[in-house]
């Protein structure tokens, strides 16, 4: 029995050794392993990554002459074209016909103008003759009026002398009654002559006025007739159209792209006439590249006009883009436009690319990896490691420290100063869920 207990004691020691190893292994497995570091001063970089689409930066019309029959259209909306590519072909016979019609119209207008010019010469001559006649009539009326007026005034003067003579004694031989009758007669004659003179003066003035009006009418210019100028304008326009038609005819009736780009609108169709407006519209990349992207609300506040943008298209990076416009979207995000003056021939309208905007904050004195910051009931905290002597040696225990985030990105968070000590080890990563007061093992990377 005693031997049994003696052996039992030895077995007990062996069992204790076994469980010593087992408990240490279990402890090693169960105790959370954490990475920790002290805070550091850091600039927080806000990186906005998003997909963008190349959009037209400059839309240009492709014009052609109106009223020509379209024979074939070679492109459709969205087709990428290079400078000189054929967009459509016009019917050459119809074009030649239109040229012929234009020539006829020009000839007709020119003939009209010649006739108008000839008629105007004749009218001018007639008018000149009428003017001369009116002048003669006017001069004649003036002279006649002056003569009549002189005669009437002479007669008034003679009547006046008769009265004076009679008053001077010429009628002394006459009786009183005869004298009175003579005197009355003389005065009556005087008044009649005076009246006649006034009448001559009035009628003469009327005649002169009538002659003057006739002269004025004769000298008046004729009514304006712009038909000659209008015809000249029409001729000029038709000649220009004719010239354009001729060029089109020389080109074989082909409408081609003036610049590289993408067809954004087709306004002609085979078998129809060309119109007055553009036959095609094209988005050209000649004015540079424009990329449009939508960013989320939380990222939108970091983007500003003028920010540098890195564009990644199929692994090729372009660094010379910048934000030129920001428009808020309905969901609180933002549609940003990035442009570059170059690379016109390296992008196609509608093509996708990745854009990256890096915005760096000022220097924050307390910054920790974002993985170190936890949130509970709207409050942020970090786990700080405290060293405590234990039976197993000096071990680390977690402690919650409330913090306030000033700024953050996907990697780091800047914290308000004063809540963490300079030497505090802050848990940044743990292989298990940890809570305040937990014993943890510090891992070194």
């Amino acid at each position: 029995m005693k031997r049994f207990f003696a052996k039992g004691f030895a077995v007990l020691l062996a069992v204790m050794m076994f469980f010593t190893l087992l408990s240490r292994a279990a402890d090693s497995f169960l105790v959370a392993r954490v990475f920790a570091e002290t805070y550091s001063a850091k600039k927080i970089e806000h990186i906005v990554n998003t997909e963008a689409v190349v959009q037209k930066n400059l839309e240009l019309p492709v014009m052609t002459e109106p009223g020509i029959l379209v024979k074939t259209v070679y492109v459709q909306e969205g087709s990428p074209v290079k400078a000189g590519d054929i967009l459509a072909k016009l019917d050459e016979a119809h074009l030649a016909e239109q040229i012929g019609l234009l020539r006829d119209e020009i000839r007709s207008l020119r003939l009209q103008n010649e006739a108008i010019t000839a008629n105007r010469g004749l009218e001018e001559e007639e008018k000149k003759k009428q003017g001369q006649r009116a002048r003669e009539d006017y001069d004649k009326a003036v002279r006649k009026n002056e003569e009549n007026l002189r005669r009437a005034e002479e007669e008034v003067r003679q009547a006046e002398e008769e009265i004076n003579r009679f008053a001077g004694g010429a009628g002394a031989s006459l009786s009183q009654e005869e004298s009175e009758a003579k005197k009355t007669q003389l005065w009556q004659t005087y008044f009649d002559k005076k009246q006649a003179c006034e009448d001559v003066k009035r009628s003469g003035a009327d005649e002169v006025e009538a002659a003057a009006r006739a002269l004025e009418d004769a000298q008046a210019k004729g009514t304006a007739d712009p038909s000659l100028q209008i015809n000249a304008i029409h001729i000029e326009q038709k000649e220009e159209a004719l010239e354009a038609y001729k060029k089109l005819e020389e080109a074989g009736g082909i409408i081609s792209a003036g610049e590289a780009g993408t067809v954004t609108g087709v306004f002609v169709a085979t078998g129809q006439m060309t119109g007055d407006t553009a036959a095609f519209t094209m988005a050209s990349t000649a004015g540079g590249i424009r990329l449009v992207a939508v960013v989320k609300q939380e990222e939108a506040r970091y983007v500003e006009i003028g920010d540098a943008v890195t564009v990644d298209k199929n692994g090729i990076k372009y660094e010379d883009f910048s934000v030129t416009a920001i428009r808020q979207t309905a969901d609180g995000g933002a549609e940003i436009t990035a442009e570059s003056a170059g690379h016109a021939d390296e992008f196609l309208i509608g093509e996708g690319a990745l854009i990256r905007i890096v915005k760096q904050s000022g220097l924050y004195s307390v910054a920790v990896p974002l993985s170190a910051v936890h949130t509970e009931q709207g409050k942020n905290y970090v786990f700080v490691l405290d060293q405590k002597p234990t039976v197993l040696g000096t071990e680390y225990f977690t402690r919650k420290a409330q913090v306030r985030i000033i700024d953050k990105n996907s990697d780091y968070a800047a914290l308000e100063e004063g809540t963490l000590g300079r030497d505090n080890l802050i848990v940044t990563e743990s292989n298990q869920y940890i809570s305040a007061g937990d014993r943890v093992r510090l891992q070194t990377s």
Partner: protein, 283 residues
């Protein structure tokens, strides 16, 4: 009839005291397989100031091995401290084999001037409580720069007078004739010690070491006084490290801590009886 009555009375008294003696062990055994809630419901008035009186059940209502699993798999510190205790105990016992056994042999077998005085000093030192010796031991250990090391506990234990006292008793009991015979046969002093003294005093040596083992295994004052580094704490200081809310766990840990001494006690009970008896014999 009178004899039977006396025997019955003796048995009753012994059983009464046996119940008191085994009570703590039964308490440990029951508590170690009892859930925390059940332990708290019984010991609440003692542990957390609940109203009423503490009570106990021999067998738990809802037995569980949770605490045992916790101790064995989730308490590496328990085993760390167990092995600290083992180191201290082994160190002291080995030291006593090296130093105390020859000292006891010398005192028991040789006649020299001042022997009685030295023996009296041994007795005196053995009677002194630890608190009396603590300061002087502390100063010596500090001077030797042994504080806060396991040696600070081991060395004072090595030179414990109690073992010398026990072994002295046994060595003194070896008949002088046997020693004379050895001398006649040409044995030297070391040979007499190793070939005659140690075998004949084996019972005393073992009983002294067993008693010392029991003392070392439950040693608590010396570690508190001389050890600051928690990594050096022995198992006797494990229970104070356990939270008050983990009573079941503490009881289970205590039960496991009891096992080594229990095994040794059962294995060496005869030696212990003789050692205890020897310490009680009047010179």
């Amino acid at each position: 009839m009178r004899y039977v009555a006396a025997r019955f009375c003796r048995m009753a008294i012994l059983i009464f005291f046996a119940v008191f003696t085994f009570g703590p062990v039964v308490f440990l055994a029951g508590g170690s397989i009892m859930g925390d809630a059940e332990v708290k419901s019984y010991l609440g008035p003692v542990l957390s100031g609940q109203e009423g009186y503490a009570m106990w059940r021999l067998l738990p209502l809802y037995p569980t091995l949770r605490h045992l699993v916790e101790v064995l798999f989730d308490a590496p510190e328990f085993f760390h401290m167990f092995w600290n205790t083992a180191k201290i105990t082994a160190g002291i016992l080995l030291g006593q084999v090296v130093f105390a056994v020859p000292a006891a042999w010398g005192l028991a077998r040789y006649r020299f001037r001042g022997k009685k005085l030295i023996y009296q000093i041994y007795i005196l030192l053995m009677m002194m409580p630890f608190q009396v010796m603590m300061l002087s031991e502390y100063l010596v250990l500090d001077g030797l720069e042994l504080l806060d090391t396991l040696w600070a506990v081991i060395w004072p234990g090595v030179f414990s007078t109690f073992s010398v006292f026990i072994m002295y008793r046994f060595f003194s009991g070896i008949p002088e004739d046997i020693m004379e015979a050895a001398r006649v046969d040409g044995a030297g002093e070391w040979q007499m010690f190793l070939r005659v003294g140690v075998p004949l005093g084996k019972t005393g040596i073992v009983s002294a070491l067993l008693l010392q083992f029991l003392e070392c295994f439950s040693m608590i004052e010396q570690p508190i006084a001389y050890l600051k580094d928690k990594t050096l704490y022995p198992l006797s200081m494990y229970l104070p490290e356990i939270d008050a809310g983990r009573t079941g766990f503490a009881l289970c840990a205590s039960l496991i801590a009891l096992l080594p001494t229990l095994f040794l006690f059962m294995a060496g009970s005869d030696y212990l009886e003789q050692g205890i008896a020897a310490s009680a014999i009047k010179e």
